[in-house]
């Protein structure tokens, strides 16, 4: 059995790469270890209910519409009509830093005036910066590894305003600690504050279905429950894979979304020893607690209504995020309330859901003995809900069901080393590896989020499978 292109992983990067290659006549097989597709952005059934993982919101979806935005470009490349996403815009979201709070929606004017109100002395400098960021051309990538914190501090001074800009962008993209790469910051700033956030109607499943259906429509194949155990390499060139059941599949190109350490490990210990080192240790991973409630969040009585679509919080004076020393860091995280996207009529017949994500230690969860695992999961999710109660209102009396996933769960279902959700700190922007025709796609190639993952798969398929060596001159 021979394919032009094998794709490891049916997440958004793998599906997008597979669609592109198949669209132009390549024989494509996408291999997924799990029995469901989606990778980091997937869904599962527990207690008779379906839950989404990953996706809190789709960024890049606001006022500007699809034209010229990364989301628009992604959909165009895959020929998926924008309207089929049925996006429900966020109502309002909040950034909480200690005692300070800023609210924003999909209206950039409202965002800039909210910042100006909270930081009157910095209003002019911020307005100038916002205009520059909004107009920045994302195709013009500058020098790598420029610290966003450093550049923002030069522009705005060293104060909490810098933290307000860094926190949401870092939470949605960063594999570094308390900082991110400047280009990545600009991309995320536009994605969140200029273009805005939305939730596809019905959550992750219909969105994934669009991608999977498109793959099949253009002639690609998808095989689930097919874990790759080895990437076959001959004379430094990838020539296929071996599956868990012993089957060998030959191919001219192998595109891997498994992440750098896992991909090298699949190629064999010699590659792994030579090319993976301590720099590739995953730093960012999460624990998420999902509560099903008997009352919509915004109607729960308490000091502040839980009326936000998304909350980015740091329960500290300044934002100085680091890898948690403990199992979880109860001071930094994200609250997501799907029903606060769109209007209440969009959610008729749906049980209210509250999701709280805390940053977690990559290794400690993996090392926990089974006996302590369940109990620690419970304790961490209790802490997440206690914090929610302190910041807003207490959801606990209204809880009818709870499920929690940890870095260990993420590793089990995605194969990403250490439960990495944004890849490792090192990025391979051109996708090439020391092995010819083995190409990296997804978070370790350099882009994150659903839109970033999709664009990563597209760009790498265009370049390495379809032979589009460079972008077209104007």
């Amino acid at each position: 059995m021979r394919y032009d292109t094998l794709v490891i992983g049916a997440g958004f990067s793998g599906l997008a790469a597979g669609i592109r290659a198949a669209m132009f006549g390549r024989r494509v097989l996408v291999l997924e270890r799990h029995y469901l597709w989606g990778g980091l952005n997937s869904f599962y059934k527990r207690g008779g209910r379906l839950f989404d993982t990953g996706l809190h919101a789709l960024t890049n979806c606001g006022q500007r519409g699809p034209k010229g935005t990364p989301l628009g470009r992604l959909l165009r490349q895959l020929r998926i009509p924008f309207d089929t996403l049925e996006l429900l815009p966020q109502r309002v979201s909040e950034i909480v830093l200690g005692e300070r709070r800023v609210r924003f929606s999909n209206d950039p004017v409202q965002w800039t005036s909210a910042i100006a109100e909270l930081f009157p002395n910095d209003a002019d400098r911020f307005t100038t910066l916002h205009a520059e960021l909004a107009a920045a051309d994302l195709d013009r990538v500058g020098a790598p590894d420029r610290s966003a914190r450093k550049l923002l501090t030069e522009r705005l001074g060293d104060g909490p305003l810098v933290d307000f800009l860094l926190m949401p962008t870092a939470y949605y993209s960063s594999a570094r600690e308390g900082d991110l790469d400047w280009d990545q910051f600009v991309m995320l700033y536009q994605a969140i504050f200029c273009e805005g956030m939305a939730q596809p109607r019905g959550g992750i499943r219909p969105l994934l279905k669009l991608f999977v259906d498109r793959l099949i429509e253009v002639g690609g194949e998808l095989r689930r429950k097919a874990p790759v155990v080895r990437i076959l390499v001959e004379r430094d060139r990838a020539c296929g894979v071996e599956l868990e059941d012993g089957q060998i599949i030959a191919a001219d190109h192998v595109l891997s979304s498994a992440g750098w350490p896992a991909t090298m490990a699949l190629a064999g210990p010699a590659w792994s020893v030579q090319h993976v080192d301590t720099r590739d240790r995953t730093r960012i991973t999460v624990l998420e607690t999902i509560s099903v409630l008997d009352t919509p969040c915004e109607r729960i009585a308490g000091p502040r209504p839980l009326d936000c679509s998304t909350v980015f919080f740091a329960d500290t004076e300044r934002f100085a995020f680091k890898t948690p020393e403990d199992l979880v860091d109860p001071h930094h995280g994200v609250i997501s309330i799907p029903q606060n996207f769109g209007t209440p009529s969009d959610w008729v017949g749906h049980e209210p859901i509250l999701r709280v994500t805390l940053f977690a230690h990559p290794d400690k969860w993996h090392q926990l003995p089974s006996a302590e695992y369940t109990q620690n999961k419970r304790a961490a999710s209790d802490a997440a809900l206690a914090l929610t109660a302190r910041l807003y209102s207490d959801p606990r009396p209204h809880e009818v069901f709870r499920d929690v996933f940890t870095p260990r769960t993420i590793t089990k279902y995605t194969g990403h080393t250490g439960g990495a959700i944004y890849g490792g700190p090192r990025k391979w922007r051109d996708g090439t590896t020391p092995i010819e025709n083995l190409v990296l796609i997804g978070a370790d190639q350099g882009m994150s989020g659903i839109v970033g993952a999709g664009l990563s798969g597209i760009a790498m398929a265009n370049r390495h499978v379809l032979g589009a060596r460079r972008e077209i001159p104007s």
Binding site: Q77, F82, I458, N462, E471, I472, P473
Partner: protein
């Protein structure tokens, strides 16, 4: 294909790539990207569709010839003279 058919073929490909664009009033002599939202990735798709549908290989050095519909007709005339027009949407 005649020159007019080449223009139809190109417009049909663009409509596939950018279904939300109105192509009815395109000026043949004006750069496509000045009239509709067409970025470099979309442009690449026009070239790849030409290869898929008509077997025409446009070398990178010649991409600039395809900037306008008029340019497309000039450049592709000899390449597509013996090819039949068929629509990307049916391919």
């Amino acid at each position: 294909m005649t020159r007019d058919e080449i223009v139809i073929a190109i417009k049909d490909i663009i409509q596939q790539i950018a279904p939300d664009e109105d192509l009815s009033s395109l000026d043949k002599g004006v750069r496509l990207r000045d009239q509709i939202e067409l970025d470099s990735m979309d442009f690449l798709d026009i070239v790849m569709e030409l290869r898929k549908l008509y077997g025409v290989q446009v070398p990178e050095a010649d991409y600039k010839e395809l900037a306008t519909l008029e340019g497309c007709a000039n450049y592709l005339e000899s390449h597509l003279a013996d090819k039949e027009l068929h629509c990307a949407s049916n391919a």
